[in-house]
Symmetry: C2
Subunit: 198 residues, 2 copies
């Protein structure tokens, strides 16, 4: 990726953390770079265009991170995906950034392009979970009664809920991650304790 | 409740559906009533005060609806709670209203009072699920290995995720509701199919 674009993407992250989504201006993003507002406008005509490019950038990084997961077993793969999606804050601005993302989610009904982008995030996560569940069923690691489509959808919903609660009321991501991990180990895995443990 | 206040609450619902949260003005709410903007200001000094009162009003109605659930069995009670929280749209403006609520959730980090109110919604739902799980364990309807605290938290997270996906990408509430209902019947219930069905 072009160095200037990379710098603008980093600046967009920083500006979203600092100002949130609703009141963000091109000027705020420019202030986080060594470039002028005019340079920003040369690359992205409007704020909306820049933010759509930023979501594409985030999506590419999300796919990369999912692709890097390479566990030998399906159950470990599922747990690694959950860790990736619900990882604890990497920096102090983490919750501010997730808040801006939730604001963007609330734009879904009004902005067709945001919605299509948000669908891709849910979609790639769903596909990855679905594939791991299919693999696990084939290898005998995952209970044969598990329906991969239903369960992958349920897990994507739980991941969305974890992010929402983290932002709206500060519910710890780690608590949601533990709940989802337990679900994988104690409900989906074929070798769970006979009696339950759910 | 005072008739004027009731009218203002109904108007706030309508105005949120029509204008969303971010750009809502007192004038927009007044326009949905037979009252003047001055009358609104007599009852609520600021828009924020009115919206906090509106969330209190929604919360009271939510508690009423949960209290109305009176199923003879714990499993049926859990399913009824899920139906109540993830009921399909009652009117055309349903998604617009849920969108406004998601915008308010994104205000949680910046508005202490919203956050406290949002916590009460999650809290009363958690308590209701927790009590039903405890009842079900005592009566033998719910698997004794189920941890009521962990499972109630997981279910509240899934409900939040269902609302978020419904707004952000139009994911059907009914699909999330079915996923959660299956979880209750096929994972939590003591009389589920021996082998799985999860």
């Amino acid at each position: 990726m072009d160095e200037t674009i990379e710098e603008i993407m980093d600046a967009t992250y920083a500006a979203l953390c600092r100002h949130g989504y609703a009141s963000l201006r091109m000027q705020d993003i420019a202030a986080e770079t060594s470039k002028s507002k005019a340079t920003l406008h040369y690359h992205f005509e409007t704020k909306e265009e820049l933010l759509h490019a930023f979501l594409d950038y985030l999506f590419a990084r999300f796919v990369e991170r999912l692709d890097r997961i390479d566990e030998p077993s399906a159950v470990d793969g599922l747990l690694a995906v959950i860790d990736e999606v619900l990882s604890p804050p990497a920096d102090d601005a983490h919750r501010e950034f997730k808040t801006a993302l939730l604001e963007i989610k609330a734009q879904g009904p009004y902005d067709e392009r945001y919605r299509a982008q948000l669908e891709r995030f849910d979609g790639v996560l769903y596909d990855r979970l679905f594939d791991l569940l299919m693999e696990g069923r084939a290898s005998g690691e995952i209970d044969p009664h598990v329906d991969p489509a239903d369960v992958a959808d349920f897990m994507v919903t739980a991941c969305n809920g974890a992010q929402t609660r983290y932002v709206s009321v500060g519910h710890p991501l780690s608590r949601s991650r533990d709940g989802l991990s337990r679900y994988v180990r104690e409900v989906l895995a074929a070798d769970r304790d006979g009696g339950g443990g759910r």
